[in-house]
């Protein structure tokens, strides 16, 4: 499902370059849940950004679901993220002006899904993440765990084939984080989604099909 070859990404000036990724290659099979672990600054987020087309590598290629991401233009990348790849952020990334249901519906609106279908799908997903009763609440009225659940529901709304999550439990307490991880594992299985999760949460690592350790921009081993 995901294939990356020779990914290199350098930030900063030429005088003091920061090699965020250095010749990284990896493959993720369909339906696989891969945990990317490493210390802060090791390159986890950069890897996820390159896989999702949010950033462009200095060198190397990325293929997602048969599409060469690195060859796509801005419009193509948007389409990719809208139809194929979904993100889950450490800070949830919910739109404060919208209710939980409306947040979940955003990807569907981007696809111009008819209202009835959209509402049905949103209700289904909110039930899936256990927030059916909180559909009309705004993000600032929800707890951190609930917000991340909404974020997961939103990530699944467009039926993506790839889920990229950047430390989804980073801002949650252990118990809540555990719940979110369990949910993530469950939806990956139930929705048949391929997931790459950047984390240093040991519990999540235990739930992953595979763990990739990354340090100084290189995959260990």
């Amino acid at each position: 499902m995901i294939s990356a070859r020779g990914l290199t990404r350098t930030y900063g000036s030429t005088a003091t370059p920061v090699h965020a990724l250095d010749d990284v290659s990896l493959d993720v099979a369909p339906g696989e849940l891969v945990a990317v672990v490493g210390r802060s600054g090791s390159g986890k987020t950069t890897l996820l950004n390159l896989l999702g087309g949010l950033d462009r590598p200095d060198a190397g290629t990325v293929r997602v679901a048969g599409t060469e991401v690195t060859a796509l233009d801005d419009e193509g990348l948007s389409t990719l993220r809208r139809d194929t790849v979904s993100y889950i952020f450490q800070t949830f990334g919910l739109l404060s002006a919208l209710t939980a249901a409306e947040n979940v519906g955003v990807p569907l609106r981007l696809r111009r899904t008819p209202a009835a279908q959209r509402e049905e799908r949103v209700a289904l997903l909110l039930d899936l993440v256990g927030l059916g009763a909180h559909a009309l609440q705004r993000p600032d009225e929800l707890s951190g765990g609930q917000q991340q659940r909404v974020a997961i529901a939103r990530a699944l709304a467009g039926s993506p084939r790839v889920l990229l999550a950047d430390e989804p439990t980073g801002q949650l307490d252990t118990e809540t984080g555990l719940g979110v991880m369990a949910l993530l594992r469950a939806v990956v299985e139930s929705e048949g989604v391929t997931a790459v999760v950047a984390t240093h949460d040991a519990v999540l690592m235990s739930l992953a099909d595979r763990v990739l350790a990354i340090s100084d921009g290189r995959i260990d081993g």
Binding site: D74, S78, R81, G93, T113, R118
Partner: protein, 1068 residues
């Protein structure tokens, strides 16, 4: 902590620079207004004083009836008193002495006529020598100069000798004054001649100073010392002091006004018994009050601008404070978490604020000084003499510092009070509702007070006039913004049903942001203020034009010092024709009258204005009301037809009167003719006294008779012994008088031969008199037109009363149709068709109300009537009132130079509508008002731009993170731009629209009440809103374009800079 503040300032220098710029901009406005209210108004006062007629600031001491031996001392004392009043203004003085009336001696024999001597040290400026020179002190006969009219009537010229005999009246000196004529002069119609016994006319057939009326000649102008040495009693001594206008500043004139209060007492004390009467008169208090009223009127407009500007600036400061607070929220929370107390926060913020305030003040003081200087160099202000270089005053510094402190305090408070926008609690909501209601009630009360503002001139410090507009604008803006917020909420709910992504999210986010009311208020208020400033300026200007139009009544008016004779009329006609084809013009009668028992209100008597109403459509100016024209009004007043009199030959040469009384009688006829010129001007011209001895006697015209005149009436005042035996039975005898007029050439080539088509009639002018049947007959034979009046006279009756008859071609108008002003209707309550009994100059007339008009041209806000000059003249002549009545001329659409040509004749005051409008709108004490409105416009636009930038660019960091996340969700760059554009425009465009509507509503509600006349009263006509459509459309379009540009630029930049690195930032 100071280190933290300094480091933070280094990091946030752009933000702090923006804050300083904002505060400095507002301070610059306040400083500029302070300079306008201070140095500019002061300079305006000085400039206005320089434009003032010296007579309006002069102080005159009048002394009446002085013995010759006391005159010199009394003159010196009076001079000292008036000089003391004007003190430091280094006044100049003029002295005029007029002798008692003396017998006129001709050929060494006393005549019935009288004359008087005059000495004045200001004569050279008020008369033109036509022959010879001015008199000087001489050893021999006293040298004199006489007016042309006197010289002509007495047959005098340089070198001729004449004498004045005994003084008339009780106690008069019996001492002749031998005179030699050394010059003749023509008086100019300037101020002082109206105080001459004969008004500068040179002759009056029957002048009386309280004694018996007699033909009077004069003045015989002599050297002042000669007059004093001649031993003549002084009838009137007048000493006038005029301030040097360059030195007549406000404080100097105020002190003069104070000294004026005691001056009459001082004058009476120093003159003592030497004069029978002493009086001190001055227009200075009235002039000063007028100048102060103008200044106050302008100041109130500037204060409105100032208050609006400060209100806008405070809103901007609050908004900026919120932005600063938002940017520093994390830091503040961190510091609070590390133990920083509230007091420390306040102290730190205050210290930083103080530095910002000082920086802003340091920038604003020179900026205001420069801006003020630039403003005063604008064409309008420079033309008013107000241009000046940069100045720094204490008032400027204080105003700037106070504003900087106020704004920075507001900013600091807003910074510290930042709270997340949340739904208010019911209690807070209720409190807000109450505050809203209170504001609305306050605005309504303020508007009501403003609406009921005084109609009379008022002084400075009008709080209502200053506060009401600001309150109304603020409340309307607040209501408008609430409306926008409500609409956005509703719109967001509706947009939620859309299938797409951009509209619902943009609407929802716009509705969400609409809860932050400060930004919205500022945007809408800035637009409203800009729209209001433009419309108020236009309304103000238009009202000044309307006031000028109604005040002048036409395009150009000449107001004579004294009613015009045929010579003055000729000069006016010549001046009008001097520049090509003459424009439409009309003689004007403008004087007070009594209406029945209504004689007017305090300080305001009913006014009669009469013009040639056949030309009203092109002649009259002033707003009439919808659907009406001056032409229509004129047609309701104009006479049915013109009349044709008997054309006189040039100079009236060859016109004779031949009369015959009963046998044995020695009757004489005093003849007064009424002559009419081609413009319809009529004036009575005395033509001497003629013996009715059966022989023709040439008429002795008392005035120059020019060409193209027609005789339209002859008055004969008969007197003398009839030869009848006293006490005998009553007998009736026939008296005839024939005026023979050599046939004159036609008035113009287009006229046909002189014809006498209109019927003449004769009517006795005595209510009860000796004249029975009277007939008249007009015949043209052998090149002569003869107008014969025959009457049957009761000789016994005649012996007691004489006879007084008028022969005229003027038909009887019965009642003079008039258009009455609305003020007259309010005062007297007549209806159309009613007749009003009026007294005009002692003559009773019947007026018929033909129509009602808002105001009579040249008599705004007065109880007044407008009549046709021809009809009125007919009525007056028929009533025996032959005195000159024409007080001026009105000219429509004068060609270039007409005003100068008429002014050059020095017949009176020339006023042009355009000139008056310029004075009212752009005079030194007025021009600041429209100019500061431009400053408000500029400030409003600047604050609007700042507000838009703040609204669009607020918290860019958080907005950037939001965009990055949206992009991660699959939103394309273009969609992100569209979303942000839609969000901002959904917020800003309705606010701009609402601001426009609020500005328009405030203009309609408030602007007409803010416009004041030059004396601070409500203007007449009532101001109406004048929309400067082009300017308003340009303004609003410009603002919208500005919004689009700022939004587009900011949004595109934001989206471009929203990188994946933002994805891990907190918030949403």
């Amino acid at each position: 902590m100071l280190v933290l503040v300094l480091r933070r300032a280094r990091v946030q220098w752009r933000l702090l620079a923006a804050v300083v710029a904002l505060v400095a901009t507002a301070c610059t406005l306040v400083g500029t207004c302070a300079l306008v209210l201070g140095v500019t108004q002061s300079r305006g006062f000085d400039q206005e004083v320089l434009r003032t007629e010296p007579a309006d600031l002069g102080v005159t001491a009048f002394l009446v009836d002085l013995g010759s031996e006391d005159a010199a001392a009394a003159r010196d004392e009076a001079a000292r008193v008036v000089a003391e009043v004007l003190g430091p203004t280094e006044p100049t003085q003029e002295t005029t002495l007029t002798s008692r009336l003396r017998d006129l001696v001709a050929d060494a024999a006393r005549t019935d006529s009288q004359a008087y001597l005059l000495a004045s040290d200001a004569l050279a400026g008020r008369a033109d020598l036509t022959a010879g020179r001015w008199p000087t002190a001489s050893a021999g006969r006293t040298e004199v100069a006489v007016p042309d009219t006197t010289a002509r009537l007495l047959g005098l010229g340089p070198g001729d000798r004449v004498g004045l005999g005994d003084e008339r009246g009780l106690g008069g000196l019996d001492r002749r004054v031998p005179l030699v004529v050394v010059g003749t002069f023509r008086p100019r119609a300037v101020l002082e001649w109206e105080r001459d016994p004969l008004g500068g006319a040179g002759f009056s057939p029957s002048y009386s100073d309280g004694l018996e009326a007699a033909p009077t000649y004069g003045p015989f102008v002599v050297d002042q010392q000669e007059l004093l040495d001649s031993g003549s009693s002084i009838n009137a001594l007048r000493v006038t002091a005029y301030p040097s206008l360059e030195l007549a500043g406000d404080s100097a004139l105020r002190r003069a006004e104070e000294r004026l209060v005691d001056a009459p007492g001082r004058l009476a004390a120093v003159v003592g018994e030497r004069a029978r009467l002493s009086r001190l008169a001055s227009d200075l208090p009235r002039t000063l009050a007028h100048l102060h009223a103008q200044s106050a009127s302008t100041a109130s407009t500037v204060l409105v601008v100032l208050l609006l500007g400060v209100a806008l600036s405070v809103a901007a400061a609050l908004l900026t404070g919120r932005l600063v607070g938002s940017v520093r929220e994390d830091e503040r929370d961190l510091l609070a978490a590390t133990g920083q107390g509230r007091r420390q926060q306040v102290l730190l913020a205050s210290a930083e604020g103080a530095v910002l305030a000082v920086l802003a003040a340091v920038v604003a003081v020179p900026a205001a000084s420069l801006l003020h200087s630039r403003l005063t160099h604008r064409r309008d202000l420079a033309a008013a003499g107000l241009a000046q270089g940069p100045v720094v005053t204490w008032v400027l510094v204080l105003a700037v510092c106070a504003t900087a402190v106020l704004l920075v305090a507001a900013l600091v408070v807003a910074t510290l009070r930042l709270r997340p926008v949340a739904d208010p609690s019911p209690r807070v909501g209720l409190a807000r509702l109450g505050l809203d209601a209170l504001l609305v009630v306050g605005a309504v009360v303020a508007w009501w007070q403003l609406r009921g503002q005084r109609t009379t001139p008022g002084g400075a410090g009008d709080v209502v006039l200053t506060v009401a507009p600001v309150l109304c604008l603020a409340v309307l803006t607040a209501l408008g913004v609430r409306l926008v917020a409500a609409c956005l909420r509703r719109g967001a709910a509706l947009a939620g049903r859309a299938r797409g992504f951009v509209a619902p999210l943009a609407a929802r986010r716009a509705a969400e942001r609409a809860r932050a009311s400060t930004a919205l208020l500022l945007v809408a208020a800035a637009v409203a203020a800009a729209v209001f400033a433009l419309a108020l300026r236009s309304t103000w200007d238009t009202s000044q034009d309307d006031q000028a139009a109604l005040r002048v009544g036409t395009d150009l008016s000449l107001t004579l010092r004294s009613p015009a004779g045929v010579a003055e009329a000729r000069r006016v006609v010549d001046a009008l024709g001097a520049r090509g084809s003459p424009p439409v013009a009309s003689p004007v009668i403008h004087r007070t009258l009594a209406l029945g028992r209504f004689i007017g209100r305090q300080g305001s008597r009913p006014v009669l204005v009469a013009v040639d109403t056949r030309r009203a459509g092109s002649l009259l100016r002033g707003r009439l009301g919808a659907g009406r024209s001056w032409g229509q009004v004129g047609r309701a007043l104009a006479p049915a037809a013109e009349v044709a009199g008997i054309a006189l030959p040039h100079d009236g040469a060859g016109v004779t009167l031949r009369g015959r009384g009963p046998a044995g009688s020695s009757l004489t006829a005093r003849v007064t003719t009424v002559l009419e010129d081609p413009t319809g001007f009529r004036a009575g011209v005395p033509a001497g006294e003629v013996d009715l001895d059966g022989r023709p006697h040439p008429l002795a015209w008392s005035a120059e008779v020019g060409p193209d005149l027609e005789l339209v009436a002859v008055r004969l005042e008969l007197d003398g012994p009839t030869g009848a035996t006293p006490g005998a039975a009553s007998t009736t005898s026939t008296v005839t008088a024939t005026v023979s007029v050599p046939t004159a050439a036609p008035r113009s080539e287009t006229d046909g031969p002189a014809e006498v088509a209109d019927p003449w009639e004769v009517r006795p002018l005595q209510d009860q008199g000796p004249v029975g049947g009277a007939t008249t007959d007009v015949r043209t034979t052998g090149g002569t037109t003869e107008l014969t009046t025959s009457m049957e006279v009761d000789l016994t009756f005649f012996a007691y009363t004489g006879a007084d008859v008028l022969t005229t071609v003027l038909p009887d108008p019965t009642a003079v149709p008039v258009a009455v002003s609305q003020d007259l209707v309010d005062a007297v309550d007549p209806s159309v068709g009613d007749e009003l009994a009026a007294i005009v100059g002692g003559t009773s007339l019947a007026l018929r109300v033909a129509t009602v008009i808002p105001a009579v041209p040249s008599a705004p806000g007065e109880v007044a009537v407008l009549a046709d000059a021809d009809t009125l003249s007919r009525a007056l002549v028929r009533a025996g009132s032959l005195e000159p009545v024409v007080d001026g001329w009105w000219v429509a659409d004068p060609s270039t130079g007409t005003a100068a040509a008429i002014a050059a004749e020095e017949l009176g005051t020339v006023t042009t509508r355009e000139g008056l409008a310029t004075d009212l709108a752009r005079g030194p004490l007025r021009v600041a008002a429209p100019t500061t409105l431009l400053v408000l416009l500029a400030l409003a636009v600047a604050l609007f731009a700042a507000a838009v930038v703040l609204v669009v660019g607020a918290d860019r960091s958080r907005a950037s993170t939001g965009v990055a996340r949206l992009r991660a969700l699959g939103v394309s760059r273009r969609q992100a731009v569209r979303l942000l554009l839609a969000e901002h425009l959904t917020l800003l465009l309705p606010l701009t629209l609402v601001g426009t509507l609020v500005g328009a509503a405030a203009t309609v509600l408030v602007a007409p009440h803010l416009v004041r006349s030059d004396v601070g009263a409500a203007p007449v006509p009532t101001p109406v809103v004048a929309w400067p459509w082009a300017a308003e459309v340009t303004l609003v379009a410009g603002l919208v374009v500005g919004v689009l540009v700022v939004t587009w630029t900011s949004t595109a930049r934001l989206v471009r800079r929203s990188t994946p690195s933002r994805l891990r930032d907190g918030g949403s």
